[in-house]
Amino acid sequence: MAETAASARVTPVGPALPVVGKSEIKPTWCPGCGDFGVIAAIEIAVKRLQLPSQNVVIVSGIGCSSNLPHFLSSYGFHGIHGRVLPVAEGIRWANHGLTVIGTGGDGDGFGIGAGHFVHAMRRNVDLTYVTMDNQIYGLTTGQASPTSSMGQKTKSTPTGVIENPIEPVALALASGATYIARGFSGDPKHLADLIANGIQHKGFSLVDVYSPCVTYNKLNTFDFFRQRVYKLESAGHDPTDPVAAWQRALEWGDKIPIGLFYKVDKPTYEDLEEVLSAGPLALQAAGLRGKEKLLDEFV
């Protein structure tokens, strides 16, 4: 997709601009928030791919993490809570020359937005979804999230969570995503590789990121992850093997894998939508002028 984004005619006008970088707004996250590592990784990835600012749209929902689009120099859509993916899909279908990156939190994507998550993946829409998974609701000051651990004490679960967490990687495998990775914001370089490869992958790419909330999650801290994560790349994992991917996705405890779980090449929704074969929808002719024959069906 990177080559399309850089070379395709995306609008009727204008030259390419400098690649995506920082915007004039400084991130407003708490000092030490995991999301700093995520934005750093995104910056490295888009620089490496030389994506021009005007051809990238970063979409988000609501949450601390969802403020991210404001801090980069690309186009952005900071929508409502949980609706990142339908907005991002609409943007892709309106102009599939654009590089679309969805961002947001675990609550946004796997709680209120869970329905859209599953459907966007089964459609294999060509976008990259980077979730800043801190196992907590940060912006609303520390309630349980769909990825909070069993027994975890939060403001809304003072005696501990009594539901099983969602495992985003497993859910993505079950739903048909074609690039499924997990990163750690304590390792932005590794994360940048996962994101860059996700952007280049044609199809739905999930990059679920352990991105600790230093203010409200005292369980899943940077140290918690540093002590546990290991890289699939150095563990002999074969990312083309869905059964192996499934087994790795269920690992949690003393050892937690990060890296690329699974990747497969399949046609994207945009490939299969015949209307888009004529080029980006936003550049196609519109209206019915000269098509009066259409009225014959009503005779």
Binding site: A94, A282, A286
Partner: protein
């Protein structure tokens, strides 16, 4: 106005709608004006369904009150509908299927026995042909020429020609000739009058209007009575280059449409009240991010799942108030297919010009009923300008710039040098949030106030650009009907009947219900004597809006919430009471 009405009834699964549509289409091809009403229930098989086709030399705006010919496929149809057959009328039925009530038919109505099953058996033992003889006989009595009926039937089979089509033509010809031998053409039958007319449902007209306006993207989740908008669009998606997406739910549908619009295509969604309720939060997002979007709410009788296949105008309050906080919106309310076509063009124009959501209120009655339209009424020469209007690299570009009109220059992703973030949080001219670290700081308090005022100012422009209210009939009439949406049709027919009875009335109708056109309404009502509010809901929602916006209270009301569209005779009766 001379008219002839044909009603066909039977069980769901009997193919009533397709027989009915063939009759209606035969009339429209004869150049007659037609209004056709399709009454069914929310089941796929079983349950009583009926179809009424009303043809006339003048324009009927409603299904009318009664019919002249009843083709009954079962006994229940006779029991339910024979009382609405006018004297001189005919009931077509097959005595092999059922017998008539012992009490007989209403006076002046006679039964034409047609051996439809026997006619079908000549060709096949399957049940597929059993209506053909009845359609033929009905067509004869209704004055439809056999060759024209045959053309319509052949066309309805499309390309899948073969023996089934020949059998249908044979059996319907047998029915036609049977009636010709034993019966006579109804005295009200009309002759061919010029060029064929177009026959379309409100939903077809809505889809067609959207396409003419330049719509390139529809996302929708199935819900009666809005679904056939998606069906029409999907059927034409490839030829017209329109992306049609069946979404996972209405939350997704409206958010997809807003995303697509943000990225530079004209986009819409359509639903009924239940789905519209799910779209509410995103409407505010479109208002806040200043992204155009067109949303059709085809209302059905509520609350909750309500009566899925019955009509009501009960969502007006919902449409007026949908969304937390305040943002500019327009609500258009066409009354028939021709108006619906134009309402969609207006909706896209207004949404685009004012960068805000525009709602189009339809309902079951408008969406699913058929009406004839003249070709001149659906002009495809609609301006569809490019959406890439801001020059690339414009220095100091401000997406949410304060302007006199409240409308700011809109950049589209892909344009170099104009990058901005569309924020659902409150923001400044640049699009930067004022909701988090800045909220409450004096400079940003006034920024918020200015930004609210900028957005809300667009209401003035919307009010000036949206179609104004229309007074039909003599201004000095002693009775003024006040109505909106699909109910306007029955009011027009009622006015015609009242005129025939020497009673002068006029009608004030509202193609735009919001922003409420208070000034023109006040002056149009200045001369009104008695005013009769007619709308299809329990509490008189439009009447309350009118009063809130103008202080004007209608002197009388006729409200209906039984799920059926208004019948002209109900309106005539109420008018005579109050006049």
């Amino acid at each position: 106005m001379t008219e002839i009405g044909v009603r066909i009834g039977g069980q769901a699964g009997d193919g009533i709608a397709s027989i009915g549509e063939s009759v209606a289409r035969s009339f429209s091809r004869m150049g007659l004006h037609v209004f056709a009403h399709n009454a069914y229930q929310s089941v796929i098989r079983g349950g009583h369904v009926w179809f009424q086709a009303r043809a006339s030399d003048g324009r009927p705006y409603s299904p009318g009150d009664s019919a002249d010919i009843l083709y009954a496929l079962d006994r229940a149809t006779v029991d339910i509908h024979a009382p609405s057959i006018r004297p001189g009328g005919t009931v077509v039925y097959d005595p092999e299927k059922f017998s008539l009530p012992e009490s007989g038919l209403p006076s002046g109505v006679r039964a034409l026995e047609v051996p439809t099953l026997a006619m079908a058996r000549k060709y096949t033992s399957q049940s597929i042909l059993q209506n053909a003889g009845g359609i033929g006989a009905t067509a004869f009595v209704a004055g439809i020429p056999l060759d024209l009926l045959h053309q319509v039937l052949s066309d309805s089979f499309g390309k899948k020609a073969g023996e089934i089509v020949d059998w249908n033509l044979g059996a319907s010809a047998a029915g036609y000739h049977h009636a010709e031998t034993h019966w006579s053409v109804h005295p009200h039958a009309l002759a061919k009058r010029g060029a064929p007319k177009l026959l379309m449902t409100g939903n077809s007209a809505i889809a067609l209007g959207a396409a003419a306006a330049g719509c390139k993207f529809l996302a929708q989740y199935p819900m009666t009575p809005a679904s056939s908008i998606m069906h029409w669009m999907a059927a034409h998606s490839h030829t017209l280059g329109i992306v049609v997406k069946q979404a996972e739910d209405e939350l997704a549908a409206v958010n997809m449409a807003i995303g697509a619009s943000y990225a530079g295509v004209r986009a819409m969604t359509a639903t009924s009240g239940g789905g519209f309720s799910l779209m509410v939060e995103a409407l505010g997002m479109a208002g806040m991010t200043e992204t155009p979007v067109v949303v059709v709410d085809s209302q059905r009788a509520g609350p909750s799942t309500g009566l899925p296949t019955k009509t009501e105008q009960g969502d007006l309050n919902l449409m007026l108030g949908a969304g937390q906080g305040e943002f500019p919106r327009a609500i258009l309310a066409p009354s028939n297919p021709a108006e619906a076509f134009h309402a969609m063009i207006d909706a896209f124009r207004l949404a685009e010009e004012f960068q805000t959501p525009v709602l189009v209120a339809s309902d079951f009655h408008l969406s699913e009923d058929f009406m004839t339209v003249d070709r001149e009424e659906v002009d495809f020469n609609v301006p569809v300008p490019s959406l890439f209007t801001v020059p690339p690299g414009e220095p100091n570009y401000l997406r949410y710039q304060y302007t006199e009109s409240g409308v700011s220059p809109r950049a589209i992703p892909g344009q170099p040098g104009l990058q901005f973030v569309a924020g659902s949080d409150e923001h400044d001219e640049r699009g930067h949030l004022v909701s988090d670290v800045h909220a409450g700081i004096p400079r940003f308090v006034s920024e918020r106030q200015r930004m609210m005022e900028k957005r809300m100012k667009k209401l003035d422009g919307l009010a000036r650009s949206a179609p104004p209210p229309v007074l039909e009939g003599p201004p000095e009439a002693p009775l003024t009907f006040v109505s909106w949406g699909s109910t306007v049709g029955a009011v027009r027919d009622a006015r015609e009947e009242l005129t025939e009875r020497g009673k002068v009335t006029n009608l004030l109708r509202f193609p735009t219900v919001y922003p409420f056109p208070a000034e023109p309404t006040r002056s149009l009502l200045a001369k009104a004597k008695r005013t009769l509010l007619v709308e299809a809901n329990y509490s008189g929602q439009f009447g309350r809006l009118l009063r809130a916006e103008t202080g004007f209270a209608c002197s009388d009301r006729l409200l209906k919430y039984d799920g059926e569209p208004f019948h002209p005779h109900e309106i005539v009766a109420r008018a005579l009471e109050v006049m």
